[in-house]
């Protein structure tokens, strides 16, 4: 009996709804869902969709924090809903909204096309001047070389960092935290030779210099990527390159 006093039977979720075919402004719907201490926010949303309102739209896939698709705002904070316990947000009501910074298509689903384009703008893949033939074997790497970029390779493209970034919300042209961190992931990879190509895109105003170092991206990142750090390191190396080219104009190609 004493347990039921501390653990509620149910919890209220206030869920952002936007149904463009019937309304031009979003509204909030309240749902009462059973409370289980082991439930994540995503479990509660799935309960709503299965048992209360099948029309609720949201993204999710792996429910174990690797697909990066279930990012939303819970009480205003960007989180992975599959990795955030309902319990951590008691007593409720818990307000669920789509990630900020992305235009909303419907309910909790944002249009993420902009981020996808930015990933290709920064060439977030291995670039080689010349590919080795397959017969020559792998590109070898030492554990220390792996260490140089491993942290940045943990990014799951969940876009929580974009939602936390005021610069991105105010100036959507800003390339943004994850895309820059991923550019760094390849720059710091000993097998990659594309740093200069990426610098052309990233040294623009909308690139690294758009960042004013608010630092919230690093705070909300569920994977410890530290995009803010990646951007500041990029600024340092861009500055060094600039001074190097001033002092030794001929050494740069």
């Amino acid at each position: 009996m004493s347990e039921t006093l501390t653990v509620p039977e149910t919890v209220i979720l206030e869920v952002f709804r936007y149904r463009p075919e019937v309304e031009s402004e979003p509204t909030f719907d309240s749902f009462e869902v059973p409370f289980h201490p082991e439930w994540m926010i995503l479990d509660a949303l799935n309960y709503i969709k299965d048992d209360l309102d099948g029309s609720l739209s949201y993204r999710w896939a792996c429910r174990m924090g690797v697909c990066g698709s279930c990012g939303m705002l819970a009480n205003g904070q960007p989180v992975l809903t599959c990795a955030t316990y309902l319990e951590s947000l008691l007593p409720g009501p818990i307000r669920i909204e789509p990630l900020e910074g992305f235009p909303v298509i419907r309910d909790l689903v944002g249009d993420i096309g902009d981020f996808m384009n930015k990933l290709s703008d920064v060439k977030a893949w291995l670039i080689r001047d010349e590919e080795k033939p397959v017969e020559d074997g792998e590109y070898l790497q030492t554990p220390s070389q792996l260490d140089d970029y491993k942290q940045y390779s943990m990014c799951i493209n969940c876009m929580l960092c974009y939602s936390a970034c005021p610069v991105y919300r105010l100036e959507p042209e800003f390339i943004g935290p994850a895309a820059i961190a991923l550019a760094q992931r390849y720059n710091l990879d000993s097998r990659d030779e594309g740093a200069e190509e990426r610098m052309d895109v990233l040294s623009q105003h909308d690139g690294i210099w758009g960042c004013t170092l608010v630092g919230e991206c690093t705070e909300v990142c569920p994977k410890g990527v530290d995009p803010a750090g990646a951007i500041q390191r990029y600024k340092v190396s861009a500055t060094m390159d600039y001074f190097k080219s001033l002092l030794m104009p001929r050494s740069s190609s």
Binding site: E21, V22, V104, P166, T212, L213, V214, G215, A228, G229
Partner: protein
């Protein structure tokens, strides 16, 4: 039915960013505070430059500048400016290890060492300046 709606055409909802967005979160407010304090850093730098320029204008100009600076109100204001600049410097130096990752051979220099290096350099510069101003 929403009359503006056309089937199969996305009709996005875009949220407006409020002017006072930076009051919505503590970390945003701290960020804005750090950025605003840079105005005072510029002010302090301008005062120093102005003093150097008056040095060139001969003794009377220098004396006049000194008497202006030693007015109690100016001193109070400058003490406040000093604290604001300290806030700026400390929050700024604390961010240094984020930007500077040093590798010695295969080993990464720990972030605290980078931090200590920055504070050490700051301290050393301050000692040199203090020595020039006070004991020479």
């Amino acid at each position: 039915m929403n009359p503006g709606y056309r089937l199969y055409y996305p009709r996005w909802y875009r949220k407006r960013v409020p002017i006072f967005w930076w009051l919505h979160k503590r970390s945003y407010a701290v960020f804005i505070a750090r950025e605003l304090t840079s105005v005072f850093v510029v002010y302090a730098a301008a005062v120093v430059v102005a003093l150097v320029l008056t040095l060139n204008k001969g003794e009377p100009a220098w004396e006049a500048a000194m008497s202006r600076l030693s007015h109690p109100l100016v001193i109070t204001a400058h003490v406040l400016v000093l604290f604001v600049i300290l806030f700026h410097t400390i929050t700024w130096l604390n961010l240094a290890p984020m930007a500077i990752v040093v590798k010695l051979g295969d080993r990464k220099v720990p972030p605290t060492a980078v931090l200590i290096g920055h504070y050490g350099a700051w301290f050393a510069c301050s000692v040199v300046v203090a020595w020039l101003l006070l004991w020479r």
